[in-house]
């Protein structure tokens, strides 16, 4: 069953074509990563799916409903983390969670959600006193308070320090294990690689590659082979690593030499990404 289905999605701002025929779908229970540089159209895509922006063309179904006509019943099933944090600064963390929980039919317990997002010790702190990372966690908490089936996370860890990012990743993995469907946008490649079941790379309003992180790093990109020859570093790139490695080692054996510091490097998603999004 599909949680999200997008076909031929198009959107222009004046003369600028922000999205030119985007297609993808997300299975129920899947973590889907939408990856791309700034300005690629990630937020435009997500905000159309969230019902904030109108599309110019194509069809979109989110939980079986066109988000342009999403009603309260639909919004109960969808949790949203926007790209920028927004709260009532005068409320405490606990009050914010409880107040927003009341908008839903079956909200989760506010203390439990504070626990999930790691804000248990900040429950009585006013929102205005929170750090940037803590605010981002409250964003996630407010998206989870209604116990949604589908969660949109628009760059959820931008600006986090490494420790906070690891914690956020654990939280997102935890949500996945609860069977939630997640659409995650990010420009961090390691984040997509760590969290997403499938990734789509968006560039200039089109999806240029889609698949599992392993598929994306699988064939198309060069494997790197490094070694020392006569004390100098040699770096080779090849699409046929097995054959090239065989040649190199055969030559070395024939010469009776050792290939010092031999390394074979599989491309990371980052390499794929940089190659794909290179102008």
């Amino acid at each position: 069953m599909k949680a999200v289905e997008v076909k031929g999605l198009a959107k222009s701002y004046g003369d600028h074509e922000a999205l030119r025929g985007v297609d993808f779908s997300i299975e129920v229970g899947e973590v889907f990563g939408l990856l791309g540089p700034n300005g690629a159209g990630k937020t435009t895509t997500v905000e159309i799916l969230e019902g904030y922006r109108r599309r110019d063309g194509g069809t979109v179904e989110v939980l079986g409903i066109d988000p342009a006509h999403g009603n309260s019943a639909w919004r109960r099933r969808v949790g949203v983390v926007l790209q920028s944090s927004s709260f009532y600064p005068a409320l405490s963390v606990g009050e914010s969670l409880r107040i927003f929980g009341r908008y839903y039919e079956r909200p989760r317990d506010a203390d439990e959600v504070a626990e999930i997002v790691g804000l248990s010790d900040k429950r009585d702190a006013r929102v205005r006193t929170l750090s940037g990372g803590q605010k981002r966690r409250l964003d996630l908490g407010l998206a989870l308070i209604g116990d949604p089936e589908l969660i949109f996370l628009d760059e959820p860890t931008t600006g986090f320090d490494p420790g906070a990012r690891r914690n956020a990743w654990d939280t997102i993995r935890n949500l996945r294990s609860l069977g939630k469907t997640i659409l995650l946008t990010t420009h961090y490649l390691d984040e997509a690689e760590q969290l997403a079941d499938r990734v789509a790379v968006l560039r200039r309003g089109s999806i240029i590659r889609e698949g599992t992180p392993a598929e994306l790093t699988g064939g198309a990109v060069d494997t790197e082979i490094r070694f020392l020859r006569d004390g100098a570093k040699v770096v080779e790139h090849t699409r046929e690593p097995t054959r090239r490695l065989n040649e190199l080692t055969a030559e070395a054996i024939a010469r009776g030499e050792e290939l010092d510091e031999l390394e074979v490097l599989r491309p990371t998603l980052e390499d794929v990404y940089l190659e794909l999004t290179a102008e």
Partner: protein
Amino acid sequence: MKLFLHELRVQQLLFWRNREAAFFTFFLPIIFFLMFGSIYGGDYIKKEHVKGAPFLEAGMIGYGVASTAFAGLAITMVIRRETGVLKRIRSTPLPPATYIAAVLVSTFVTFLIEAALIIGIGSVLFDVAVPDRLLSLLAVLVIGSLAFAALGLALTGAVRSAEGSSAVVNFVYLPMAIVSGTFFSTRSYPQFLRAIADVLPLTYFTKMTRNVMIRNHHIWSELGSLGVVSLWGVIGVVVALRVFRWQPREA
């Protein structure tokens, strides 16, 4: 209905928590009443055939509707829009109409408390009789606060940033409050100011509030003023429906 009452409580909590805004919109008219009341409360205003204190008391209720329903609401809603709070509200199942209704009723509750306080202070400190026509007064306050709230929401369309909201709103509402005769009788104003006052809704709101409070008029003998205030309210609604936005301005 349950959601509405919940949201009404939330809006009241938010208003009183926000000390700066509460001071600016709620206490300023009361402080002005105390100040100007002690300056000319005992004087007789010949052109209005009334003592200073009752004249000022009704005037400060007029100033109060402008500061709570018009200025305070406009500033609050611009800040909520530009900081993304309204956008977040739209992502929840809370129906937008319920949210707006709660915001408006909360504004009215605040204004009503303020009017009651002003009347109480007038009675205790300045020896002004509590008005007899309380139902007519209540009706005037309801219609006035709705009209000014609509104008306040319309004004949010003219403000582009949260930082600029106080400046723009003060620029509109402070001169309006003075020209409309909330502090001084417009009868002693020069011709050009009176010409401006003659089209402003606050002039008519203040006039009918005075007539109901001081001269014991029924609301139905104030149909002219009521008509002008309502017309401005309708203009406010029409403009607000066109310009009100839930999302911050695109970067």
